[in-house]
Symmetry: C2
Subunit: 206 residues, 2 copies
Amino acid sequence: MENIPSKFVERAVDELSKLPGIGRRTAMRLALHLLKQDEKDVELLGTSLIEMRSKITYCKKCHNISDSETCNICSNPSRDQSTVCIVEDVRDVMAIENTSQYNGLYHVLGGIISPMEGVGPEDLTIDKLRQRFEQEDIREVIMALPTTIEGDTTNFYIFKQLRDKSIKISTIARGVSIGNDLEYADEVTLGRSIVNRTPYEDDSTE
Amino acid sequence: MENIPSKFVERAVDELSKLPGIGRRTAMRLALHLLKQDEKDVELLGTSLIEMRSKITYCKKCHNISDSETCNICSNPSRDQSTVCIVEDVRDVMAIENTSQYNGLYHVLGGIISPMEGVGPEDLTIDKLRQRFEQEDIREVIMALPTTIEGDTTNFYIFKQLRDKSIKISTIARGVSIGNDLEYADEVTLGRSIVNRTPYEDDSTE
């Protein structure tokens, strides 16, 4: 993949291959695809990326991406302002919103604590979370971080900040996926789902 | 994946997901990655794509991408000007150049004939190829197109244009990959490799 015969293509391939999950081969394929597109379509792509980065703003309350100072969720009076769900990034907010099962607010950390990747608590919005607990009347916190070592570390770090306050803290349930056969669940998940068994509810009458 | 809470991110995700092999989920992941990068790095990416598309030029002889009117290969006097290798795109030129086994010129078609995708001979540089045969002293043509129905169709189309001329035409050999066990080769390839067997050469004395 050496010796690209144009320095413009070379530069574009260099930049594209900095994206996560995109190697030089894929970058070259994308560059050749773009060369076949209309000039104005490529301009749309390029400017949309630049504009997104330069004009992005975050909700001053929950730090979700937002076009206004306060996002639609935080400024919605029908949402429960006393419950906060803590998530890693905006994709998690979108995923939980899609379930229609949650009516509280969010707090977007912007990442999780990961010493391996050099991400410490100071790189996240944990300070802002602490401020929220002082300024808002928050009574319940739901931790919805990834089920990884990094996620658990972050859970614990935040838990330590909150345990002196009279706040109900929970994590989202881990267990067997709905619609899955037990034999396909991994041991750790299956084990946890037995330890954390929940009282039987008759869903059929719902 | 609906309801991205910022129209700037929405637009970037829309544009990114137009790229081949990138769905909305991957596009969202890329957009969130870019939001975490420095503003000037995202600007570098965006402008490199726009600049590539607007400033790209093609060698007027072989239609490879090139920063000069005639590419480095076509303008190299030590290369055999009487042999032309016909390829689909610049990646094939780079792949063949990497083998160091070819010293002739190329002709880059810019695609292959594919009625399914609406690509006809007029969308490729086949007219320019015909002109080259009138203007240059070409005595041998090597077809190096993909081994697909589209590749075979294109081979045949070009062959029809050339068969009245006294030009030696060949296709690159198809056969069992070097370093592969026979049992892993598919039937068609293995069958072809027997039909097109080559005289034994003792490579060990090289």
